[in-house]
């Protein structure tokens, strides 16, 4: 008996190959039966059904046997395999019965049951190899239930294992080393399981990354038999390897905080980049529920010489600009802006002759406003009613110190360009104090040749 000990794992490995036969063959037999029943001209198909069905039944038996053998290898958790196994065996049994019945009273009913069994068994098998979310992963967002927001964690609270190491394992190892598919009897989904190791013993050695099996395998060349992740799967990035090594060397701590570890700035930077720390605050404009502008309104603007483009495909927000410096931007043209006032977030009339600024109060959702080289003055600047404005470009305009009060009132302002204006650089020191995060560009200071 021991002589044939190799036989069962060897045949077991053929299961992924065999399974496709009964799925395809039994289905085509069923389709032949259906078509043969419906259409008289295709009655010859019906005659061939038993033959095809026979092949299907034989292949189903093969698939079931090899499947049973692979399930004995210990790489799969029994409860995860349970339904797949019994559905598969059920398919083989049902297919054989259908074949033996040939025709008869309950033939079609049993045949249909076989189909149901093969579909369920096939689907469960697919979930085993590819993971349970494989099929729905690329489902369009609107069909998925609202996804749970990712946990956002600050650098101060982040813990080394759950927030740094575990995500690396989840990304690179989990698809094969999980509770239902324990390749090499190794599970890498939690701290406890990681320390348990696999069939070859420990995978991590406390305080010594260099001799840890996991790290050794990661460093093997891509075509080596024992390398991890195996050939064809995505390799770990240098950063990920570095983090794993650091964590193993530092003593495999479970709940130590990142800030408590002696990390240099570079490593801190790497970790910070990887963490979902609080993202840059989103401008409130982009959290409003805004409907798209109508196509006819956009066409009217385009005909008047405006360039109107959505920020991105499918986005209701618009960037609106007027580039034609040979033309005057008349009131008749700017009056059209009312139609897209809600959607316009970027607006650019740099260098254009604007005759009338009364459109400005309508554009309440502006985030970027370029009024460079225009006739804008202090009085007209007061017309700005966009409370969420981030960028304001007033380069080469006639605005004066009187505009500073208005600028101060723009709560969200981040960048301001006031080069070549009548604002004195001494007068903006106050502004810099009230708004310390504001970047103010006062224009080019010419450096004489001899200073270089």
């Amino acid at each position: 008996m021991t002589m044939f000990a190799w036989l069962s794992p060897f045949i077991g490995r053929f299961h992924p190959l065999f399974v496709h036969l009964p799925i395809g063959v039994l289905m085509i037999a069923y389709i032949m039966e259906l078509v043969g029943r419906r259409s008289k001209g295709k009655a010859h198909l019906k005659k061939a059904v038993p033959f095809v069905l026979g092949i299907g039944a034989i292949s189903a038996v093969f698939a079931a046997v090899s499947g049973y053998l692979i399930s004995q290898s210990g790489e799969y958790a029994a409860d995860a395999v349970f339904w797949h196994q019994w559905m598969g065996i059920g398919t083989a049994v049902l297919a054989t019965i259908t074949y033996l019945m040939r025709r008869g009273k309950y033939f079609f009913l049993v045949f249909t049951l076989t189909q149901v069994a093969v579909i369920i068994a096939g689907h469960l098998g697919g979930q085993l190899t590819h993971g349970s979310d494989y099929l729905t992963e690329n489902l369009p967002l609107f069909l998925k239930a609202a996804e749970a927001k990712k946990e956002v964690i600050s650098m101060a609270e982040a813990e080394m294992f759950p927030h740094v190491i575990l995500p690396i394992l989840e990304k690179n190892c989990k698809s094969c080393h999980n509770e239902s598919k324990m390749k090499g009897e190794l599970i890498l989904t939690s701290y406890v399981e990681l320390l348990k190791g696999g069939e070859n013993g420990d995978v991590v050695t406390k305080g010594n990354a260099a001799i840890s099996d996991m790290i050794k395998r990661i460093h093997l060349p891509e075509d080596h038999d024992d390398t991890m992740p195996p050939e064809g799967k995505k390799r770990l990035s240098e950063e990920e390897i570095e983090l794993l090594e650091f964590w193993i060397d530092s003593g495999l701590n479970n709940d130590i905080k990142v800030v408590e570890m002696s990390l240099d700035d570079r490593m801190m930077g790497i970790i910070e980049d990887r963490l979902d720390t609080e993202e840059a605050a989103v401008n409130p404009v982009f959290e409003k529920n805004i409907t798209s502008a109508s196509y006819t309104d956009i066409e009217a603007l385009t005909a008047a010489g405006f360039t109107v483009t959505p920020l991105a495909i499918g986005s209701p927000y618009l960037q609106v600009a007027y580039f034609n410096r040979l033309d005057t931007l008349t009131k008749a043209k700017t009056d059209l802006l009312v139609k897209v006032a809600n959607q316009t977030v970027w607006f650019d009339v740099s260098g254009v002759k604007v005759t009338d600024w009364t459109f400005l109060p309508n554009l309440t959702n502006l985030v970027r406003l370029h009024l460079k080289s225009t006739s804008i003055n202090d009085q007209n600047l007061n017309l700005i009613a966009a409370e969420n404005l981030e960028h304001l470009n007033l380069f080469e305009t006639n605005i004066t110190n009187a505009a500073i009060q208005k600028i101060e009132s723009l709560k969200q302002l981040q960048t301001l360009y006031i080069g070549s204006t009548n604002i004195d650089s001494s007068d903006i020191s106050n502004l810099m104090q009230t708004k310390p995060t504001l970047y103010v560009d006062i224009g080019k200071v010419i450096v004489a040749e001899d200073e270089l």
Binding site: T309, A312, I313, A321, F323, R325, K372, E396, D441, I446
Partner: protein
Amino acid sequence: MNKFQEAYFKQAEFETRRHFLKQCTTGLGAIAMGSLVGCGNNTERGLDKLAGMANPLMPKPPMFAPKAKRVIYLHMAGAPSQLELFDYKPELQKLDGQDCPPSLLEGKRFAFIEGTPKMLGPLYDFKQHGESRAWVSDRLPHFSKVVDDVSFLKAMHTDQFNHAPAQLLFHTGSPRLGRPSMGSWVTYGLGSENENLPGFVVLVSGGKTPSAGKSVWGSGFLPSVYQGVQCRSEGDPVMYLSDPKNISRDQKEKIIKGINTLNEEHYKEVGDPETLTRISQYEMAFKMQMSVPEAMDISKEPAYIHEMYGTEPGKASFANNCLLARRLAERGSRFIQLFDWGWDGHGAGKEEALDHGFKDKCKDVDQAMSALLTDLKQRGMLEETLVVWGGEFGRTPMRENRGGKEMVYKGRDHLLESFTMWMAGGGVKPGITYGETDEIGYYGIKDRTHVHDLQATMLHLLGLDHEKLTYDFQGRPFRLTDVSGNVIEKILA
């Protein structure tokens, strides 16, 4: 009935409704299925969409919110020496004049180096500048002041060691002729913001066009409306744009309207996108007659601007081209491509030698390119304009010994494995250095960046996914980055 008539009727039979309904029904389902699942064109920007558009240069939304709205690409044709400008190698200085060890030469091919060359230390002094402590040589005094706005890519590498194929690889993603250039891809993906100016403009200085010729701004298999339009800072800005003598603008308008009506008829009949190209080019040429002279006239710029760039109106120079680039960027051009010829520092002649002509080339570009960055910044345009600077490959740490002999002037041969480029603005992290080369600048050892990675990153900053910006040609979708390229995440702001 003669043979021709017979053939004609035979063919006509295949175009009848009866034939179609009787014989082609089997295929109908498949066709319907195909168009449902989007087999023919699974991209948003397929030919059918394009054909449905009145103007192929109409601005199109990017795939995702962009950081950069436009690109100014400064290409130093001939490949400037990174070892004399940015990649500071004190170790190489120590080896200066020694024989190159054979281990560095084994299995390597060079364009000109033969036998055992001598090592050549950096010819100029380096200093660290700005808060970012970036190394820049004393050849670029103006540029040293703006390093904090710049992101250096120190470990660039390429596959091609001759100028023409290397330039093609940079601009079209393939070293062979026939692919669209980057500017064409970008205008194809995003259109142009100003319908009165070309979306993709090319400005050339240094006395010659690049070695790869005009293919580096060609449109390849894309409709030719997307090819680069060469503008000049001397003489007529665009060649053959002005009206012939005794033709008034009204007459010209009538002629163009007439031609376009005919072309529209033709397009309705045949549906060839090249006809659309021609229509929009006639229209654009007509509009450009007014708008281009305005955009290209730098004489009205204030004196301090001329002083800053070092420009002289009416002359052909890199400085003038930099100022023009800024003016075109202000007016909504999408991709502004500058080529400056004369950087091929082999040392075979005085003009190109690293210890002679190279100094002049540095003077030609230093002030203007630094002024461009400063000017874009003060105008609030740098945030949304991506500026890219570089050659087509690097230069060896060995001194060139053409014909196996020591040459009179100092120079370096072509090098694939390491060279420096820089990017600024348009969503690039300022004041950083990405990538590292070995002690003598011979090979990139950390964060190596391939040409395709650079292209992928540029498209990404413009809001385009380089894997999805495709065009179907000869039965398969093509893209700028061929089958490779990764966005360099670490330099994104």
